[in-house]
C-alpha cells in the first residue's frame, strides 16, 4: 500500500514525519522547503498533487481550511485527476463538516472515498505518537484507513459513520479548550490584581474544582519560568471557533459563551501584531485588566 501526504505545515509536517518513521511516504506541498525537509528524512516527492494521487492508494492531507482542501482536490492538476476508484483520501484538516461531506460525495461519483481524521494534541503529541485522532466515515473507508492511522497513533476515536462528524468533534473540543483558556486567564488576572500570587493560584486551582488544561500546563509553565512549547497560530484557533459558531447557527444552539470568546480572539488577532500565537492572548487579557499575570515576560 502506497501512502501519500499533502500539506506539510506545522501539524501536517509532524504527522507526515510520524508516518515516515514506520512507512515509505510520498509527499507534496506548495512550499518547496517543506518538501525538501521531508525528502531529507527519506520521503519521495511527487511533482504535483495529481501525480501523488496516481502513485498512492491512500492520500492524507492537512491544510489550513476546507476551502484549501477543495482547491487541492478539484483545482487544476489536483488530487481528483489521479484518484482512481477504490483510492482513499483522509482529511486531517480542522475543517467544516458540511463542506467535507460535500467533497466526499463529489469524490464518490468517481469511485474514490474520503473520510475525515483531524487530530488533537499538537506537534509534540504527533512526534511522540500519542496524538488523539478523531475519525468518522462509513465502515469500508474506516477499515481502509485504520492501519494507516494506527501508524500515526494508537489513540483513535471513531466519532460516527457520517463524514464530517470527527471534524465537528474537533470543533467541540477546540471551542471548549479555548473558552477554558480565556476564562482561566481572565480570572487569574483578577486574582493577581487583587494580590494573590500566580504560584498560589496555580497550586490551588490544580488541586481544586477549577483545574483544566490551561491551569495545568500554561499556568504551571509560567510559574516555573519555562518557555512555552505551544505552537499554534491565534488566527487558526479563531477559525476553529468561528466554525464551531457556524455549527451552532446551523442547528440553532445559542453558544452565548463561545461567542464572547470568539469576539475576544478576534480582538487578539486584530491587536496583537503580526501572526500572534494562541498563548499571546495572555497579553490581551492582561491589558484589559491593566495588570500583569507574569511580571518578567522574558521568563514566560
Amino acid at each position: 500500500m502506497q501512502i501519500g501526504y499533502v500539506g506539510l505545515g506545522a501539524m501536517g509536517g509532524a504527522l507526515a514525519r510520524r508516518l515516515l518513521a514506520e512507512r515509505s511516504l510520498t509527499v507534496w506541498d506548495l512550499n518547496r522547503d517543506a518538501v525538501v525537509a521531508l525528502e531529507g528524512l527519506g520521503a519521495s516527492a511527487a511533482p504535483s498533487a495529481a501525480e501523488l494521487a496516481r502513485r498512492c492508494d491512500v492520500v492524507l492531507l492537512c491544510l489550513p481550511r476546507s476551502s484549501d482542501v477543495r482547491q487541492l482536490i478539484f483545482g487544476s492538476t489536483g488530487l481528483a485527476d489521479g484518484l482512481a476508484p477504490g483510492k482513499l483520501v483522509i482529511d486531517q484538516t480542522s475543517g467544516i463538516p458540511g463542506e467535507t461531506r460535500s467533497l466526499a460525495r463529489q469524490l464518490a461519483a468517481q469511485g474514490a472515498r474520503m473520510i475525515d481524521a483531524p487530530v488533537s494534541g499538537g506537534v509534540s503529541g504527533a512526534a511522540a505518537g500519542t496524538i488523539t485522532i478523531m475519525t468518522s466515515g462509513p465502515d469500508d473507508a474506516y477499515e481502509q484507513a485504520l492501519p494507516v492511522l494506527r501508524s500515526i497513533s494508537p489513540n483513535i476515536f471513531r466519532c460516527g459513520r457520517r463524514v464530517g462528524d470527527a471534524q465537528a468533534m474537533k470543533l467541540v473540543n477546540n471551542a471548549m479548550s479555548v473558552s477554558c483558556r480565556l476564562a482561566t486567564l481572565e480570572i487569574v488576572a483578577m486574582g493577581k490584581k487583587m494580590g494573590l500570587s500566580l504560584e498560589t493560584m496555580t497550586d490551588v486551582i490544580n488541586k481544586g474544582s477549577g483545574r483544566n488544561r490551561t491551569s495545568n500546563v500554561m499556568l504551571r509553565t509560567m510559574v516555573d519560568g519555562k518557555p512555552s512549547l505551544s505552537n499554534f497560530a491565534l488566527s487558526l484557533m479563531l477559525k476553529d471557533v468561528n466554525q464551531a459558531i457556524e455549527l451552532g447557527m446551523e442547528c440553532g444552539s445559542p453558544m452565548a459563551i463561545t461567542n464572547i470568546v470568539r469576539g475576544l480572539l478576534q480582538i487578539g488577532v486584530n491587536t496583537l501584531g503580526d501572526n500572534p500565537q494562541l498563548e499571546e492572548v495572555l497579553g490581551l487579557i492582561e491589558s484589559m485588566a491593566a495588570t500583569r499575570i507574569v511580571e518578567d515576560r522574558s521568563t514566560a
Binding site: 447557527m249 475576544l264 486584530n270
Partner: protein
C-alpha cells in the same frame, strides 16, 4: 406626481407578497399597475382583486416586466426564484433590472448580481427598515446598493415606495447597511428589556422608567415603542423571532468574514437564539420580554413591585 410620468411606460413586477413584500407592493399599487407573483395563489388572487395583474409563473412575470422587485425570506430563496427550476431566468433578457428587497446576505447578493450580469440583467439591492407599518405609510427607509447609473434609472420607481432612501454604494451594500441597522435595533431592544427588568425588580415602575428613558439619554427607537406598552402587555411591530435570528446570524457571519469582534451583537444573537428555542420561532419580538421575566424571576405589571 410628475415623476410618475417618467415611469408610466415601465412595466413593474413584484415577487414575494409576504408581510413586508406585500406591503411594499401595495404601496406601488397606489400609483401604478403592477404584475405580481407569489407561490401562494390565494395571496395573488387577493392582490388581483385589489387591481394587480396576476401572473401564474415567474418566467411569465419576468417576460412582462422591465423592473422586477423581489422580497423573500432569504438570499437562497432569491437565488432559487431567479435561477431555480421554473425560475425567472427563462423570462429575463438584457436590460431588465431586478430590485432585491429581501433582508439578504450581501456576499450572496454580489454572487447573484454577477450571475445576472452574464445575461445582461442588473441587480439593485433595496432592503427596507421600518416594518410593514412604515411601508403602508410610505415612510419606510430603503437602503440601496448597486451600480450608480443603474440605481439612477430605477430610482423614480423606488421613490414611489418611499422618499426615504439612501444610496449606500456598490451591490450588496444595501443589504450590508440593513444588517448593521438591524443589529443595532436588536441590541437596543434587548438592553431595553434587560435594564428595565433590573429597574423593575429593584422597585421602579415601568411607566416611570418609560418616561425617564424616553426623555433621557437611554432613549432609542426600541425604548420608544417597547416601554409605553410593556406594563400593559401591548404590541409593537409583529416580527417573527426566527426572522430576527436569521438577520442576526447574517450580521455575525459578516463580522466573522471581515474580522470584526461583535461581542455585544453576538450576545444579543445568542439570547434571541435562546428565545427562539424556548418561545418558538414564530413567536414575535415582543414575546422576548418573557425570557427576561423568566431569567429575573419577575412578571411585568403596570404597578411597581411591592418592596
Amino acid at each position: 406626481m410628475t415623476r410618475n410620468n417618467k415611469t408610466d411606460k415601465i412595466h413593474v413586477g413584484y415577487v414575494g407578497l409576504g408581510a413586508t413584500g406585500g406591503a411594499l407592493a401595495r404601496r406601488l399599487m397606489l400609483s401604478r399597475k403592477i404584475h405580481v407573483f407569489d407561490i401562494r395563489t390565494e395571496v395573488v388572487r387577493e392582490f388581483a382583486e385589489d387591481g394587480a395583474l396576476a401572473t401564474d409563473s415567474l418566467p411569465s412575470l419576468a417576460r412582462a416586466c422591465d423592473i422586477i422587485f423581489i422580497c423573500l425570506p432569504t438570499s437562497a430563496a432569491v437565488r432559487d426564484a431567479i435561477f431555480g427550476e421554473d425560475g425567472m431566468a427563462k423570462g429575463l433578457s438584457s436590460g431588465k433590472v431586478i430590485i432585491d428587497q429581501t433582508t439578504g446576505d450581501p456576499f450572496e447578493t454580489r454572487n447573484i448580481a454577477r450571475d445576472l450580469a452574464e445575461v445582461g440583467v442588473q441587480l439593485v439591492d433595496a432592503p427596507v427598515s421600518g416594518g410593514p407599518r412604515g411601508a403602508v405609510a410610505g415612510t419606510i427607509s430603503i437602503m440601496c446598493g448597486g451600480q450608480f447609473d443603474v440605481f439612477e434609472t430605477v430610482r423614480p420607481v423606488i421613490e414611489l415606495i418611499s422618499p426615504n432612501f439612501v444610496y449606500c454604494g456598490e451591490t450588496g451594500n444595501g443589504h450590508g447597511a440593513t444588517l448593521v441597522d438591524n443589529a443595532v435595533a436588536a441590541c437596543n431592544r434587548l438592553i431595553t428589556y434587560e435594564a428595565v427588568t433590573m429597574g423593575f425588580k429593584y422597585g421602579l415602575s415601568i411607566d416611570e422608567m418609560s418616561k425617564v428613558i424616553n426623555m433621557g439619554t437611554g432613549w432609542s427607537a426600541a425604548s420608544e415603542r417597547i416601554l409605553p406598552v410593556l406594563g400593559s402587555g401591548g404590541q409593537t411591530e409583529p416580527f417573527q423571532l426566527k426572522l430576527m435570528v436569521k438577520d442576526l446570524r447574517l450580521a455575525s457571519q459578516i463580522g466573522m468574514r471581515c474580522g470584526a469582534p461583535m461581542l455585544i451583537a453576538n450576545m444579543v444573537r445568542s439570547t434571541f437564539e435562546t428565545g427562539s428555542n424556548e418561545l418558538g420561532g414564530s413567536a414575535d419580538l415582543d414575546q422576548m420580554k418573557h425570557l427576561f421575566e423568566a431569567m429575573a424571576n419577575v412578571k411585568f405589571t403596570r404597578s411597581p413591585l411591592a418592596k
